[in-house]
Amino acid sequence: MMSDTTQTSTQAPLQPQHGPQEPASRTASRTTPQSSPQHPRLLPLPTRIRRAMSGSWAMLVATLILLATVIIGLIPAFNSQALKQDIVLGAVPAGTDGHVWGTDALGRDVLMLTIAGARTAIAGPVVIAVGAMAIGLVFGLLAAYTGGWVDWLISRVVELMLSLPTLLLAIVLAGLIGGGYWVNVLVFMLLYAPYEIRLVRSAALSHLHDPFLDAARLLELSPVRILARHVFPVIRPVVGAAMFLDMSNALVSLSSLSFLGLGISPQAADWGRQLSDARDQLFNNPMTAIAPGIAIIVVSVAMNIVGDWITARADRGER
């Protein structure tokens, strides 16, 4: 074995200087283009448009919609205005004097009511989705990673929760705590959680034997840390997709409780409530149903666009 003379062979390897075979030119050529923004002219036009559409544009609009919804929800004035009745007028179609979108059965202005409905549109669904996913992550990861009786127990409880009648739980909680919007939010958080637990658990299971987890175990990282830093980021796309979908789902679920007589107070402006009240007005003033319906759809699409964008950003450069 010959010692061949290169300049590096004599250096102590652990010295924090340049890499051993590091010609100066190399470092320079690699680092310079890194930060400079990409020249837009280099992309074909359709790509540029597509990129803009799928990224910033849609994102911008969606963010604006959500912001507007939140802000409007914070202005109490709308609420009292919107709830003014005119029962003698009743439901009139769109365009009738001063009511752009007509009125509902109680003669309330549909436009105002829809705007005021923004109040309950975002907070509840976000709390439901985030809360349920938090529960899902904690127990789903625990079940997948620990295995054994913990997994068995969690899986059985999940099955139990999945089998419990929704309505029963809602009624009992409403009876015990006293009903209302936030109780419903709590009910749905509990009802969504078992789904998330299963989802997280199975997603985590499919990565449980990945070598990088072995590597993490060799570093004697605590299970919590392994789950939080190694397993969670890997399953994040699935988790993200499910969570933002849940927000849309929750928005609709909250409104469907009105069908069962457990919804939000009929006095409050709420899209779900509006929709369920609109059932017998569909033919008198279709706007009573269309307006809140569109509002729900627009907001939940916006939530998903923003959600997807956040998930995509978090995963950028992964592949």
């Binding site: 009745q85 029962i87 059965a105 069908f259 069962l260 107070s265 033919f283």
Partner: protein, 506 residues
């Protein structure tokens, strides 16, 4: 929609959509109004009613009593049952005993069977029913409207718990025979050829259960349905636009507020009055009900009371109009509240049952009315069952009373609302010994005018004390498609062979 509802082709088949499904054909087991409506076509009692509520012979041809306690019924001869057998007195006695058995007839036994002491066969075609207390209007109680449904004893015993189910169906003596029953979908009936009476109705009647109002309307629009009951009053105009002919009739229902005089602040009559004055009943009837209702001036509706006025509701209406119900007057409302223990207003909760959208909307209207007084009324929707359980629980100062009488008993509503005092006996937990005694006394009176006078007197007391604040008496609307004619309609129409009143052009 541009398509207009046309009747489905077959002139011999009538398709009817109703809003609620029945789980069994036996009213003894499930006594909802839909059950009664259906049973009217296939089962009969000793007596029957006509559209106005007048008692007419059915399985009994005549009846008499000397003391209002012991009733002798002479039976119709040669009545055939749907299973081909001939009806016997034993079958009827058996049916009465079944109605008295709270296990077999949980829905019915609380009514008239409750005061039946015995029912016996006292001749080949005669039975005698003995009551524990005198009841002058007993004959109407053994009609199918009030709750006697005669069947074959043999069939009942054979069917056991399957009596009235889709497996065994049901046997009666009525003009129609059930040929098909699917509790999740429909009942099909065909004309019973051995029926003792006349039946000009269509050969086949199919009753579909379509719970959702909008679906029912779409089904109607699509021409799949000839007749629809339970047209929501708020969308009558829309149905008409889609080609429906609509007919409304007073359905004897009572909608009103109940105040519990034991719950603050409603223990203060001024508070109660303030609330009653503030409710704009007229606006509710015209705005929310679109006129399909009547501002209630008393508790039992004139149509209900008509049993004591020769079945002429207008006579009864003249009487009820004189009752001292409070009508809308915001000034007086404010004045009353000033005098009360809560001059600056207060907060209360009003619940209404799911499925009663009109009551919900009325609640919101009331809340808006009360806001002017400074009273905050929180409106809550709860499941029907919970609402029922909460009636008279002594916790709610203000509550809805929604009452759909099923029997023709003229004071059916007040017999409960004004029943003997004490907690739980009446929905308001109102304790007025005099009124309670009066209510108990009604059954013992002979003359109908006396009964009416007494009931109106106690009602007056209740209204004066403002324990009950009536709002409206309801109406129901029936829609018929083009080519379908509805001959007549009346308050008790659904307790008769209603199918025969429809005729279809081929």
């Amino acid at each position: 929609g541009s398509s207009t509802a046309k009747s489905s082709g077959d002139a011999n088949k009538l398709t009817v959509a109703i809003a609620s499904a029945v789980s069994t054909l036996s009213v003894n087991q499930e006594a909802g109004s839909a059950n009664y409506q259906l049973a009217a076509l296939y089962q009969e009692g000793l007596t029957g009613v006509d559209g106005t509520g007048k008692v007419i012979p059915a399985l009994a041809t005549s009846w008499k009593s000397s003391d209002n306690k012991s009733w002798v019924f002479t039976l119709r001869k040669n009545v055939k049952l749907h299973d081909g057998s001939t009806l016997t007195a034993d079958d009827i006695v058996y049916a009465i005993n079944v109605a008295r058995d709270s296990k077999k007839s949980p829905g019915l036994s609380v009514y008239w069977p409750n005061y039946v002491q015995s029912a016996e066969k006292t001749g080949d075609d005669q039975i005698t029913i003995t009551l524990s207390s005198p009841h002058s209007d007993f004959p109407i109680q053994v009609s199918n409207v009030a709750g006697l449904f005669v069947t074959s004893k043999k069939f009942f015993d054979e069917a056991g718990s399957n009596y009235g189910s889709s497996k065994k169906l049901i046997v009666g003596t009525g003009p129609y025979k059930v040929t098909e029953f699917d509790p999740s979908s429909h009942v099909t009936l065909t004309k019973f050829k051995d029926y003792w009476g006349k039946n000009n109705g269509p050969q086949t009647v199919r009753v579909d259960f379509v719970a959702e109002d909008s679906t029912r309307q779409l089904a109607f629009t699509s021409g799949k349905v000839d007749v629809s009951f339970n047209v929501p009053v708020t969308s009558v105009a829309q149905w008409q636009k889609n080609g429906a002919s609509t007919t409304a009739y007073a359905d004897r229902s009572y909608y009103g507020l109940t105040f519990d005089p034991n719950v603050a602040p409603f223990n203060d009559i001024h508070v109660r009055r303030a609330v009653s004055y503030a409710v704009d009943k007229k606006a509710i009837v015209s705005g929310i009900l679109k006129g399909y209702g009547e501002v209630a001036t008393g508790i039992d509706s004139p149509e209900q009371l008509a049993g004591w006025t020769d079945n002429d509701a207008s006579k009864a209406a003249k009487q009820t109009a004189k009752l001292p119900a409070i009508s809308y007057d915001m000034k007086k409302a404010k004045a009353e509240l000033k005098q009360s223990s809560k001059p600056d207003g207060f907060t209360a909760t009003l619940t209404y049952p799911t499925g009663y959208a009109q009551a919900g909307k009325a609640s919101l209207a009331i809340a808006q009315n009360l806001k002017e007084l400074g009273i905050t009324l929180n409106v809550k929707e709860v499941p029907l069952e919970q609402w029922l359980s909460d009636i008279g629980n002594g916790k709610q100062g203000i509550g809805w009373m929604i009452y759909n009488p099923t029997t023709p008993q003229p004071n059916e509503v007040t017999s409960w609302l004004l029943a003997a005092g004490g907690s739980g006996t009446n929905p308001a937990n109102w304790n007025n010994a005099e009124v309670a005694a009066e209510t108990d006394k009604v059954g013992t009176l002979d003359k109908e005018s006396d009964k009416l006078a007494l009931v109106l007197k106690s009602t007056t007391t209740a209204l004066d004390e403002d324990i009950y604040s009536p709002i409206y008496w309801g109406k129901s609307v029936v829609a018929t498609a083009k080519g379908v004619k509805l001959a007549k309609i009346g308050t008790f129409w659904l307790g008769t062979n209603w199918a025969a009143d429809f005729s279809k052009n081929a």
